[in-house]
């Protein structure tokens, strides 16, 4: 359940509840108001008929007859008060009233049998409730029932909104997951199938994503294939070249040995590079190497470090090794050796003069071991740290020219470690320098 899901869900739900509530409220008020209007209408007609009755009584029977009518209990009503005023604007029953009420003159004066004129009127119904009270009336009438209905409505709208939010956010979540996988290097990630049979913008987005992934995959594969092909093609001329150098050396004797040595050295270097590229290509292509060597990791590190020691001391650098406990794991000895050697040599190359590279072997959780290799060099710019394990990556032109690195070592290390179901990661240390962390399973799964 991502953020988007909750946003859609809550906002739609809230909106739906508010709209439904407002509509229900307005409707109730409207209905009740129209009820009240009809009631008032009826009442006013009734009043008019009462006023008319009294007028008739006065017309035919005079003031006394009217008084009699008022005193008849059956005709008494608390609210429907009808007043009869004589010529001095006094009620014949002596009741007080508001003289300025316009209703006083609503009806024509009536002349009684006695020849006197009277005004008959009735005051309008008093307003029983104010607006707010009327608005709240539906809730006051039977709060329990209303609460139940309200609950059901909220629940139902909640379900609907949940569905809608799921419908909208699920494919986006899938897209996001796929994009993450793609960025982690799983170039055969596709989403169209997972998104399903939709016909909307999200489905289009999914298809575009797939096209992009396919294109990316073919580009990367082409690049890898190119590297592999070139390395394969370089092998034959290189083999001939090595022989030619060997022959030349024999024929020339010791005459130009410095130059020959140089050529031999460079040929070796070329040989090494071709070998590394081929190993990388094979690891990338998912080749399976035999994992039938039992390797003592502590001894392996020690052996690598003693091999590198000459190179390090020559440049006033040191390598320290701390082994908490050593383990023997089943692995491909050559690959593992190459991986760790590449990392350690890399650290020696970049650590500052008069500093040391620290290699630590410790246990990590219960079933893994951890090797950390930390140098005291300039570290790596944060934005380049993830591309550190890509082949032929150039972090900065100057850095690589100085060191003469060709940028395959760490790429091979990463693939070799991953081939052993391990993980490798790089980070900059707080006090400067690069830290490479290798985690390997203790028992091969």
């Amino acid at each position: 359940m991502g953020n988007l899901f909750w946003k859609i869900f809550l906002w739609f739900w809230l909106t739906l509840i508010l709209i439904a509530g407002a509509v229900a409220w307005a409707t109730t008020i409207y209905i009740q108001n129209s009820d009240a209007y009809q009631q008032r209408n009826l009442q006013s007609r009734y009043l008019n008929s009462r006023v008319e009755l009294i007028r008739q009584v006065i017309y035919y029977g005079g003031e006394e007859a009217a008084t009699e009518v008022f005193e008849n209990k059956n005709l008494k009503s608390r609210r429907l008060t009808v007043y009869v005023l004589d010529e001095d604007y006094k009620d014949i029953l002596g009741r007080s009233f508001d003289v300025h009420n316009p209703l006083v003159r609503k009806h024509e004066p009536v002349e009684s049998v006695d020849g006197e004129t009277y005004l008959v009127f009735s005051e309008q119904l008093p307003r029983t409730r104010n607006t707010l009270q009327r608005m709240l009336r539906p809730f006051q009438r039977s709060p329990g029932v209303y609460l139940v209905w309200l609950g059901i409505a909220i629940l139902l709208s909640g379900l609907v909104c949940f569905g809608l939010a799921q419908y909208l956010s699920r494919p986006i979540r899938k897209l996001q997951k796929a994009a993450k996988q793609l960025s982690q290097g799983n170039l055969d990630t596709r989403v169209s199938d997972a998104i399903g049979n939709r016909r909307d913008e999200i489905a289009d987005l999914g298809q575009d994503f797939d096209q992009m992934a396919a294109r990316l995959q073919s580009l990367v594969n082409n690049q890898k294939q190119l590297l592999s092909d070139i390395s394969h093609e370089l092998r034959s001329p290189l083999a001939r070249m090595q022989l030619a150098v060997g022959l030349a050396r024999k024929k020339l004797g010791s005459g130009v040995s410095t130059e020959m040595e140089r050529i031999e050295q460079e040929t070796e270097r070329l040989d090494e590079l071709v070998g590394q590229s081929l190993t990388l290509s094979r690891l990338d292509a998912g080749a399976v190497y035999a994992k039938d060597d039992f390797i003592d990791i502590g001894e392996l590190l020690e052996s690598i470090i003693s091999n590198c020691d000459f190179e390090a001391t020559e440049n006033n650098k040191k390598v320290t090794l701390s082994v908490e406990q050593s383990w023997t794991i089943e692995a491909n000895g050559e690959l593992l050796h190459r991986a760790l050697e590449n990392i350690i040599r890399n650290a020696i190359r970049y650590t500052d003069v008069n500093t040391s590279v620290n290699v630590d072997l410790t246990q990590h959780e219960k079933t893994q071991l951890k090797i950390t290799i930390g140098d005291q060099g300039p570290g790596v710019p944060e934005d380049k740290i993830n591309s550190l394990f890509e082949p032929f990556v150039r972090l900065s032109a100057a850095r690589d020219r100085d060191s003469g690195g060709y940028g395959l070592g760490l790429a091979i290390a990463k693939r070799a470690i991953e081939f052993h179901q391990g993980q490798i990661s790089a980070s900059n240390k707080e006090n400067g320098g690069l830290l490479i962390e290798v985690i390997l399973p203790l028992a091969d799964s």
Binding site: A239, Q242, G246, S277
Partner: protein
């Protein structure tokens, strides 16, 4: 191992490789190192040439069109015991144990330094000249080892050994009563150079002992700092 077709002490080498120019230069190089060299350029010709003449060693390229090096070796081996050095493709992982079973004597990734190749050829020649010819059966105490079928029996029952374990046992049995150092065991039984951090021999040895019922390490003894020894009971 006979040297009857050479008047002096020169060894005969057969190169089987499909790269013409490389063969020319390799031949020249090896000749300058006092070898007598023949060269053929495909697997089929390689097999017939190897069987036509007695060679001291064969340098065999694995990557060849039509018939690759392993097929050549398979054709050759039942009848021909000439030591073979395989040139494998650099960067590729070859199954050394399978190669050993098939009878390859050494591996060298190609491209390689010619000096390295010469050193390997000389090492193989030294080894094969020293080693006794393959026996049909090695018997010591209750143990019977049959190299042709790669089977081992203990008191009449066949031992369920892996290839590595069998190889170790065979190497030890050939020199029964002598200490065999780890370097030799690693190279001859596991097909790789011994490294300080490789515990494979110890691991395979402990499993081999279990299968032999040799828990008290009487049959196969560890000679500290030197190697292992199969005792002649």
């Amino acid at each position: 191992m006979s040297e009857n077709n050479t008047s002096d002490n020169k060894s005969n080498i057969l190169i089987i490789d499909d790269d013409f120019e490389l063969c020319e230069m390799l031949a020249e190089y090896l000749e300058s190192e006092n070898f007598i060299v023949d060269k053929v350029h495909d697997g089929v010709a390689g097999v017939s040439q190897a069987n036509a003449k007695s060679y001291d060693a064969i340098v065999l390229d694995v990557m060849m069109p039509k018939m690759d090096g392993f097929s050549v070796l398979r054709e050759l081996r039942p009848t021909n015991a000439t030591p073979v050095i395989m040139l494998t493709a650099k960067g590729e992982d070859i199954d050394r144990i399978v190669g050993l079973e098939m009878g390859a004597d050494d591996y060298l990734p190609k491209p390689c330094n010619p000096r390295e190749l010469v050193a390997r050829i000389k090492a193989v020649l030294r080894r094969t000249q020293l080693a006794p010819a393959i026996q049909d059966e090695i018997k010591t105490g209750d143990l019977v080892i049959m190299p042709k079928s790669r089977k081992a029996f203990n008191a009449g029952t066949e031992l369920p050994l892996t290839s590595s374990e069998y190889n170790l046992l065979e190497v030890l049995a050939r020199q029964v009563g002598q200490v065999v150092d780890k370097e030799t065991l690693s190279e001859q039984a596991l097909g790789k150079k011994l490294t300080a951090y490789d515990r494979s021999i110890d691991m395979h040895m402990s499993k081999l002992r279990q299968k032999l019922g040799d828990d008290d390490q009487q049959l196969i003894q560890t000679v500290r700092g030197m190697g292992y020894q199969l005792t002649s009971q």
